[in-house]
Symmetry: C3
Subunit: 158 residues, 3 copies
């Protein structure tokens, strides 16, 4: 779990999305390992993602840095590390958010895989985090089982 935020990483603002994300992920039955707070910098985000993939976490969720501001670089940091993208999850995250907040369509967050680790970029807002976990919850078990090579890599995602 990685919070990407200049302000929070330098202590200028408490990180609210990160703790909320951890709590929500625990709420859907996940063990939440390391929680990392990094600034809006490509290198810092990539280092956190690489470390998580090395630990072979099933899932790494980032929050923050997905918008249009010049400092929003989470998608740019994530893209070159992904083996495969899962565009449908990124679409679903945006569509869900847009039901309540029109500007959710501006999130450029990616979903994809590094090895057997699923990587999800969520927006930095607490609403975006709530919507994101709500979208992930019903499909996560299936996604992770597929990534581990289980089943017949079959219906209906298959």
């Amino acid at each position: 779990m990685v919070t990407v935020s200049d302000r929070s990483s330098r202590g200028a603002r408490p990180d609210t999305s990160g703790p909320l994300l951890a709590e929500l992920l625990r709420g859907i039955g996940l063990d939440v390992g390391e929680v990392v707070l990094v600034p809006d910098e490509v290198e810092a985000v990539q280092e956190a993602l690489r470390a998580a993939a090395r630990e072979a976490y099933d899932l790494v969720v980032t929050t923050g840095g997905t918008g249009l501001a010049p400092r929003d670089v989470t998608p740019e940091a994530t893209a070159p590390l992904l083996d495969r993208t899962v565009p449908g999850l990124a679409e679903a995250l945006r569509a869900r958010g847009a039901d309540t907040v029109p500007t959710a369509v501006l999130s450029r967050g990616l979903v994809g895989t590094i090895g057997s680790t699923l990587v999800v970029n969520l927006p930095g807002s607490t609403g975006g985090v709530r919507d994101g976990v709500a979208v992930l919850a019903p499909v996560l078990e299936h996604a992770l089982a597929q990534l581990r090579g289980g089943g017949d890599h079959g219906p209906p995602g298959g």
Copy 2:
């Protein structure tokens, strides 16, 4: 029409999605030509797509290999062959599926063109095939007319 499935291609399981797909495509008025069954391997999928493009089929639909399992390589096989992608159709296929099966968002299927051939990756499930043909049916005639250079490459896709 290409079914991508390790199990079916080696005869370990009958291919149910392929025959259903052929039946549904005939049901919307198409002449279904060759039906090919290949294993989940990039080379095999690409060979089948290249053969179909050489035959100048209007439409090639694949079923299977679009999920997250390590052996799911249909999008990876398809991507480098496409001249242009049609992301809106891929989005619509996933959105339609998700109304009934949440995990439909995990399908990584692509839609695009090779020359004037429209290529569509559908999931391997019979439900995914049904949803896919339902999404294609109302737009297919318009899409194929545009690809053949007809009309004013005009509204509303234009």
Copy 3:
């Protein structure tokens, strides 16, 4: 604002989408600067986009050339010029259109940024233009503020 159309650019047909687009953008409070009419050619579209980015317009909207016809090259012309893509806006434009016209899913239009200029490809139909402006209107102010580096590049797009 760029209308991309062979017929209109050579005077064979009046450009109806361009004037409508200008009127609608003014209607949501924007100052509309240059209005350019170019043929369906990669070079011509790129020249118009580059000129607009040099002028540091906040927003450049193109209309036309997003379909599947061989001459539809607006996305191909736009893609290499973009610093970043904003896939969610492109998805929202298609989804909105599809509520009224099924073939809206065939639009391959991109949304992205060149420097701090937001670039939006709309379809060439008047319906596509209307739907497009309706989708842009509620998020445009937020998007442009983010691009200018304002705010905390924060919620909810952030």
